[in-house]
């Protein structure tokens, strides 16, 4: 008897383990086949050569990466960086105080604001951008209002300009910054700030030495979540900027769909991915936080 019981239990344990392993299978298979596999292939592709007419040749080359260093593409990278920096700075200017003030609201209002912010987030980004087209286009809502109150006397024609692209970026990515900063600020122990103020720190000093330091993970997480996408969101540059603003994302899309130079598009993507990873690594180094604050 004594011998049978443990054996029985063991048998049952094995079977139980079998069922659980089985439940892991779909995720493992899907992830390896359709996420890891394609990513590895893109990496390999970036070292392959483009065929004369169509497709790729299985020959190792570094030409694609060298191509990125060419002035036109280097300029695109720099342009993208510039736009990303301008967008991110604007997003910080609006998003940081927003997330911070939101965390100071009462619990009921915090919930309401959260819902209010999330609703536009669910709606198609295209639809939201379309609203801005209505506002910005020549003789559109903004022109009508400005001319109506006499600030300008001719249409500004803001659509298809650089500022329009920046507005599109800021508008599309702002929620990420707000959510990240809010997640950090919400955890803030306000009594520490009060203590600092009681001990004679000025409002400004208390903010710089305590608040900013404690909400830094949220702020930086917001930077990562807005800076990287703003280099790849080619459709915003397309819709709001016409053909005037060209981003890395636009080049990747063009190389892929029009020029059919896949290895080069792959190389551009690898570089963009490396930049993304570096930013996340840097974020972890500075804040010692593993996951991005407020990401999900």
């Amino acid at each position: 008897m004594n011998e049978i019981v443990p054996r029985n239990v063991k048998h049952k344990d094995n079977r139980r383990l079998g069922i659980s392993v089985l439940s892991l299978l779909p995720l493992y298979i899907f992830t390896l086949l359709f996420v890891a596999g394609p990513l590895v292939y893109m990496f390999i592709l970036s070292f392959m050569q483009r065929a004369e007419v169509w497709g790729v040749v299985n020959e190792f080359t570094l030409k694609n990466y060298a191509g990125i260093a060419e002035p036109i593409y280097l300029k695109t990278f720099l342009e993208s960086f510039k736009l990303a920096i301008i967008s991110t700075l604007s997003i910080i200017l609006i998003g940081y105080p927003f997330g911070y003030f939101m965390a100071k609201l009462s619990a009921v209002w915090r919930k309401r604001m959260m819902l209010l912010l999330m609703i536009p987030f669910w709606i198609s980004s295209l639809i939201r951008l379309y609203g801005w087209i209505i506002i910005f286009r020549a003789n559109g809502v903004l022109d009508k209002v400005l001319m109506g109150i006499g600030i300008t006397d001719a249409p500004l024609k803001l659509l298809y300009t650089y500022p329009a692209v920046v507005v599109g970026m800021v508008y599309s990515l702002l929620p990420f910054m707000i959510f990240s900063v809010y997640a950090s600020a919400e955890k803030l122990d306000w009594s520490i700030i009060e203590a600092a103020r009681d001990l004679g720190a000025t409002r400004w000093k208390a903010f710089l030495t305590i608040t900013l330091k404690l909400t830094l993970p949220g702020l930086l997480s917001g930077v990562v979540l807005t800076f990287i996408p703003s280099m790849g969101l080619f459709f915003i540059a397309d819709i709001m900027g016409g053909n005037k603003v060209v981003l890395v994302g636009n080049v990747i899309q063009e190389q892929l769909m029009k020029a059919h130079n896949w290895p080069f598009a792959a190389a551009l993507s690898v570089v963009l991915m490396i930049l993304t990873s570096l930013m996340i690594l840097l974020y972890r180094k500075i804040t010692h936080v593993k996951d991005l604050e407020g990401l999900v």
Binding site: L27, Y28, F30, S124, V296
Partner: protein, 266 residues
């Protein structure tokens, strides 16, 4: 002192209004009689009527709905099973698989697009619904997985132990205890997946076939070439649907024991 508390609230209010302005304008102009959207010529529903006569647009809408339903369902099954499985079997590879499986929502969308485009043509999978489904499932899984994982972490394990002690089989305990407890997370993850799939442009552009159109792709082409007031009507309808789905997902996803702010943040 009063001014100090008021200023932040004014700031919050102004930003929120600007946030909603474009959406409200789209809705407003969808009822505009005039063809030119900057002139108001009175209330009309004619663009809605015209919308429902546009066969190509309705077909794209149908494609989008089918795609969103299928990919959120697939993501729910794969994500839930994976998340539950990982709490039971501690394999050394779990962390790595979890990391890779959440990559699709971490890396820029455009990279995911090119990754799928090149891979599908490597394995010569014909571009169309199948490729769209695989790609959409890939970026939907993380939402379900992360939500269910958070829910499982907050679950009282003694409940399962009690059920097992009382003689319930492993499977039975899962069906009767775990599943009802994590169901809100699954449902909310699915709704979110549905909304994300319905909204996707960037990835779809790369993996769609010549003859398959989804609604966002159709909107994108129209925004680039020239907008008709029909677009306003369509956008308004989509706004209403996404709005309802979103509100629903928040209410379903709400944890009665609170403490799960992570879920609300989605």
């Amino acid at each position: 002192m009063k001014n100090r508390t008021k200023l932040p609230n004014i700031f919050l209010g102004v930003v929120t209004v600007v946030f909603y302005l474009p959406i409200l304008l789209v809705i407003l102009y969808s009822f505009n009689e005039s063809r030119i959207s900057s002139v108001w010529e009175g209330f009309s529903l004619k663009w809605y009527a015209e919308l429902f006569r546009d066969k190509a647009l309705l077909e794209a809408l149908m494609n989008s709905i089918v795609l969103a339903v299928l990919s959120s369902l697939a993501a729910a099954v794969i994500g839930t099973l994976g998340s539950v499985g990982m709490t039971r079997v501690k394999l050394r590879t779990n962390g790595l698989i979890e990391y890779i499986s959440t990559l699709p929502i971490m890396i820029p969308e455009i990279i995911l697009g090119i990754v799928f485009l090149t891979f599908f043509s490597l394995i010569s999978l014909p571009f169309g619904m199948t490729t769209l489904l695989i790609a959409h499932t890939a970026f939907c899984i993380p939402y379900v997985f992360i939500l269910v994982k958070a829910r499982l972490a907050g679950m009282d394990k003694s409940l399962i132990e009690a059920a097992r002690d009382l003689g319930a089989s492993e499977f039975r305990a899962f069906l009767d205890i775990t599943l009802p407890l994590i169901f809100p997370a699954i449902a909310s993850g699915m709704l979110l997946s549905f909304a994300m799939s319905l909204d996707d442009v960037v990835i779809s552009i790369f993996v769609t076939g010549v003859n398959t159109n989804t609604l966002p792709l159709k909107i994108y082409t129209q925004l680039k070439t020239g907008v008709t007031p029909k677009m306003n009507a369509l956008c308004t309808l989509m706004f209403i649907v996404t709005f309802l789905l979103g509100v629903l997902s928040v209410y379903i996803g709400k944890n009665p024991n609170s403490n799960h702010q992570k879920e609300e943040r989605l």
